[in-house]
Symmetry: C2
Subunit: 356 residues, 2 copies
C-alpha cells in the first residue's frame, strides 16, 4: 500500500498541515471541511468535549432516549451570495439539516432555525429567505418548531447567516454508520457531482459561463426512506457537501479502515460542469453537492437499492461508482478515464470558502 | 384598566413601532427581544412557518415523540466583548440553552454547538472558549454531542458567534407554560437583576466603574429540579435574559391574558448595580440576566418552592416580588419605592445590542 503514495507527496502534505496548524490564528482552512478542519476537531474540540456520542463523528449524533434512537444534527450556513441559481441560503439551510438527519438513517421531524442578521439587511430579502425555508420544510415534511433571531450592528456580520438543527427518529433495524463499510460493498452515488459548488462560485464571481448550471439543493429524506424500504441493510449513507465526493469517501475509508476504489468513468457529471471545471482548473471531486448522497450497500442488495433510487426524482441518475476493498485501508483510489490509478486525497485546505 | 395608560403614550409608542416596522430594512430593534422584535416574529416569521408548536412561543418547543415529551430550544450568541467579568461567550452559550430547556420544566440532556469564526481569530481565545463550554456543560450535567465549525473570511463576521441547540425530557406531571399564570399566583425571582447586562456594557465601554459587577451567567437546571421536586404545580418558569425582567413579565402577562403587579422594593438588586444604573440612566428592569429565573407559583405552594430555591447556590436570594391578578389583563404594573404605580412597558427598541 505504501508504495502507492510517493513519499515526497506525503512530506509536502504533512509540511503544509504542520505549518497551518502551528499558526496561532484561525484560518479559512480550519473551516473548510478538509484535513486541517479535521485536525482542529480531533486535536482541540473532541478532547475538550470528550464523550462517546460526539467521537463517532457522523453527520449527526445518534442518541438513545428511553429506548428510542434519535438523530440530532446542527449546521451553520454562510453561503455567499445568499441567492444563487437553483436556491438560496434558506432552502440550503433546511435541506442541509434534513439531509444530515436522513444520512443517519432517520426520519427528520423537527427543526430549529437561528438567524443572525446584519443591521440594514433588506426586509424583502429576509421575507424571501423565510418563505424559501417554509417551502423547503413543507417539501421535506418537517416542522420548524423553534427559532431565534439576532441582529448585529452593520459591519459585524456579512448579510445573514443561518443555523439549523434537527431531530429525527431512527427506525428499528436500521444501523447506518461510516464504520460499517465492508469489503465487496458497492458504492452508489445518487446523481451528478459539482453542481452546487460550481453554481455558487459562478454566481459569486458574476460569471455567466453557462446558464444551465444550478445548485442541486434538495431534501433527500424521501429518497432515503425508499432506499431503506428496499434494503434495511444499507451500511453507510453520507451527503458529499463541503469538501465534495473526494473528502466524503476519504472520511468513510478512514472511519471504516477499509479501502475504496472508484471508477472515474462511472461518476455522473453534467457535461457543462465538467467543461467549466476543466476551463477553470477545479476538480469536481472536491466541489460541494447539496442534493446528492453516497450509499454503501452490501453487494447482494445493490440492485434493489438502485432500482428504488431511480424511482425517486432525486435518484434518477444513481450509479454504482465503485466498491469497498479490504486492502489499502483508509485510502481512496480512482481508476482514471485513461486507465491509470490516482490517489484521491483528502483535501487539506479550503477550496471555496462560504460555499454552503 | 384603560384609564391607566394615558392615550398619548399609546399613540407615541404605536407611532414609533409603525415607523420602524414600515422601513424596508432590518434594524437592531428587530433583534432586541422587545416589541419590534415580537412584531417581526408574529407578522413575518410565524405566518410563514405556521404550526401549532411554534406558535406557543415558549423559551423552547415542546415536542411529543411516541408519548415522551421533549423540550427543544435554540439560541445564537453574539455578545461583544467575548470575554467579560464573570464569563465569556462559551459559558453564556451553554448556560443560555441549558436554561431555556430548563424553563420548559425539562431536564436538559444533549446540546449541539455551531461556531462561526472570523478568519484570523486567535487560536488561544478559541481554545479558552471551547474549554469554557466544556466546563459549563459538565457543571450543568449535559453532553455536547454534535457540532459544526465554519470559518468566514476576515471582515465577514465580527470575531466569533455561537449557536447552541438543546434537547431535554419533561418529566410526567409537569406542565410549565407562560399561559398558565393564574390570579393570586405568586411571582418569585431567583436573585438580583441587571448583573449580566451591566457587566458586559461596562466591559465593552472599558469603564471600570465598579470591579464587583459580574455577569450572573449560570446553569439553572439543578435549581429548577429542586423547585419541581418541592412543587410539581409550578405554573410558569422564564429566564429574564434579553429585554430583562420587564420584558419577561410582559410576555407572561400577554400569554396568560392576566395582569401582573410587582413591588419595586422587593426586587433583589445589588447596590452597586443600582447606583451605576442611576448614574448612567439605565433601567435595571430591562437589563439582561443570564443566571436568574422568574417562577409563577400557586399561592399555596409558594413557601415550599421558596425554601427549596434558597437551598440552591443560584437561588439563595430568591424573593416574592409580586402576584398575578385577574384585572389589567396583559399589563405589568409596579408599585414604586415612593408609593406610586408605574406601568412597566414592553421595551419597544433595542437597549443594548450584542448583550448575549
Amino acid at each position: 500500500m505504501k508504495g502507492l503514495v510517493p513519499p515526497f507527496i506525503t512530506t509536502i502534505l504533512e509540511g503544509r498541515i504542520k505549518k497551518l496548524h502551528n499558526t496561532d490564528r484561525i484560518s479559512l482552512d480550519h473551516g473548510g471541511g478538509g484535513r486541517i478542519s479535521h485536525r482542529l476537531i480531533s486535536d482541540l474540540i473532541l478532547p475538550a468535549f470528550d464523550n462517546v456520542v460526539l467521537s463517532q463523528l457522523g453527520d449527526g449524533a445518534v442518541l438513545n432516549l428511553n429506548g428510542m434512537r434519535l438523530a440530532f444534527s446542527t449546521d451553520t450556513f454562510t453561503v455567499d451570495p445568499l441567492f444563487f441559481p437553483g436556491g438560496d441560503i434558506g432552502r440550503l439551510a433546511i435541506n442541509g439539516t434534513v439531509n444530515d438527519i436522513a444520512m443517519c438513517g432517520a426520519d427528520p421531524l423537527f427543526l430549529s432555525v437561528g438567524v443572525l442578521i446584519e443591521e440594514g439587511f433588506p426586509l424583502d430579502d429576509f421575507r424571501s429567505i423565510i418563505a424559501a425555508m417554509s417551502e423547503s420544510a413543507k417539501e421535506a415534511g418537517v416542522m420548524i418548531v423553534t427559532g431565534d433571531t439576532k441582529v448585529v450592528p452593520k459591519g459585524a456580520a456579512d448579510m445573514l447567516f443561518v443555523n439549523t438543527t434537527g431531530i429525527g427518529i431512527i427506525p428499528d433495524g436500521i444501523e447506518i454508520s461510516p464504520r460499517r463499510a465492508e469489503p465487496d460493498d458497492r458504492i452508489i452515488l445518487s446523481g451528478t457531482i459539482g453542481d452546487h459548488g460550481l453554481a455558487v462560485l459562478l454566481q459569486r464571481e458574476s460569471m455567466a459561463v453557462d446558464a444551465s448550471i444550478h445548485s442541486d439543493t434538495a431534501p433527500l429524506n424521501h429518497l432515503v426512506k425508499k432506499m431503506l424500504s428496499a434494503s434495511p441493510n444499507i451500511h453507510v449513507l453520507r451527503d458529499p457537501t463541503r469538501g465534495g465526493l473526494g473528502t466524503t469517501l476519504n472520511e468513510i475509508a478512514q472511519s471504516s479502515q477499509k479501502g475504496i476504489i472508484i471508477q472515474q468513468t462511472e461518476i455522473p457529471i453534467k457535461t457543462e460542469v465538467e467543461s467549466v471545471c476543466e476551463l477553470m482548473g477545479f476538480d469536481p471531486l472536491y466541489l460541494a453537492n447539496e442534493g446528492k448522497l453516497v450509499a454503501i450497500v452490501p453487494e447482494t442488495d445493490t440492485d434493489k437499492v438502485l432500482t428504488a433510487m431511480r424511482r425517486d426524482p432525486h435518484g434518477k441518475e444513481a450509479a454504482i461508482i465503485g466498491q469497498v476493498v479490504s486492502e489499502r485501508s483508509g485510502m481512496v483510489l480512482m481508476k482514471t478515464k485513461i486507465g491509470g490509478m490516482r490517489i484521491v486525497e483528502m483535501l487539506s485546505s479550503e477550496q471555496l470558502p462560504r460555499i454552503c
